[in-house]
Subunit: 129 residues, 4 copies
């Protein structure tokens, strides 16, 4: 683990709810960092073992996290060389949009279940930007 790696992930920078699956939360938060360009294409991630050590989680949990993100084509692993954020910016843009759409679809479903429009829901929640 070199210095630049250790700068990539700090344990305090992840907000973890112990009652939800850990791997799920790490996936979500790493995905968001890639989508918001906080983690740039080509960035090298810490090894699974280092990630687990830094986060103080089980290595299998760390491995599962990376696997999920690979399946999403947001991470690329080159055997023996390490894991990197994909250089395929189209994939990243697609992920970004998918996250947004999933969030909005969810909001829309909640609104519908209350018999409201999305705008109506925002008003009821007294939301203001």
């Amino acid at each position: 683990m070199n210095e630049s790696d250790s700068q990539v992930f700090h344990p305090e920078s992840f907000r973890i709810d112990p009652s939800r699956p850990l791997y799920e939360q790490y996936v979500e938060q790493i995905r968001a960092r890639i989508a918001c360009r906080q983690l740039l294409p080509g960035t090298r991630l810490p090894s699974v073992r280092d990630f687990a050590a830094v986060m103080r989680i089980n290595p299998t949990t760390a491995a599962r996290t990376y696997q999920e993100l690979e399946r999403d084509h947001l991470l690329e692993t080159f055997r023996g060389q390490g894991t990197y954020v994909t250089r395929d910016t189209a994939q990243i843009a697609a992920a970004r949009k998918a996250i947004a759409q999933a969030a909005v679809r969810e909001l829309h479903e909640v609104a519908e279940s209350l018999g409201l429009s999305v705008r109506g829901l925002l008003e009821l929640a007294e939301w203001e930007e």
Copy 2:
């Protein structure tokens, strides 16, 4: 189970994902029906046993569903008589607002994780009412 009861809940009207906790989904959907006034204050719900039979779930699971909603003060239980939608409309209004706020807070967190405002997120998702 009388006719009016059987009109309250149709098994087809619940959308259940078998991979998520059943009681949780029934709670959410009954809560939404109360919050959107589809289930009016004072309405009698089917008995735990009837609900279980209609939904083809275990009575224990049905009971747990009702208990969760009673804890939320959306249902009232009259010993030996049955379970009813609360007549306390303030509780219902509070639940309605809480559902909306939870949804909006969730949206806001996703937006934040992408480095966007809520408005920006809606735009990215190409949402239009």
Copy 3:
């Protein structure tokens, strides 16, 4: 049911929590009224049937209420004549004291479970007369 009877019990004057046994709550509240001299010795109570009708409860619930209070010697029933508050003021005084002692014992047990004295408990609760 004559006029003076109907003045004895008003449904609104009882605070009932539907999730607790009804008979238990009526027993407690009638016992307290006798103990605090709101219901005087010799007062005639409504018949079981009238009590049930006024309170809109099941007659068996009303009967059980009266039975419990008879067992405590706070009510006396003369068959065919009705039910009366006992004229034995010693019984009433004893009940009064028993209620107080039970309440204080309960408080003491809670205090003990928190590792506090009763005085300490009152302070923690920020109680002031």
Copy 4:
């Protein structure tokens, strides 16, 4: 179950009334132990299965006990790892105060029902610290 776990809970140290809900009594008594600092923040509780075995109750009942306390934010559950006393001491202090206030409120209501002040009730019960 290691030795330190088995020291946490002894079956004889719980006073259980079989005529009341078991889970309720375990909840009350564990809550009190947390509130009085007998169970310290971060302490690991026995596993649900061990707790059930030691107390000779069904694992379901044991699980329900832990879940109630988790809902109260007095326990935290780490998936696949176990259940721990919350490290959030504010929650513990709040629970401690809530227990005290509930007890005092109860006392106050009894006093009121007898037409007495709390001080008057304590005198009637001949309570002395």
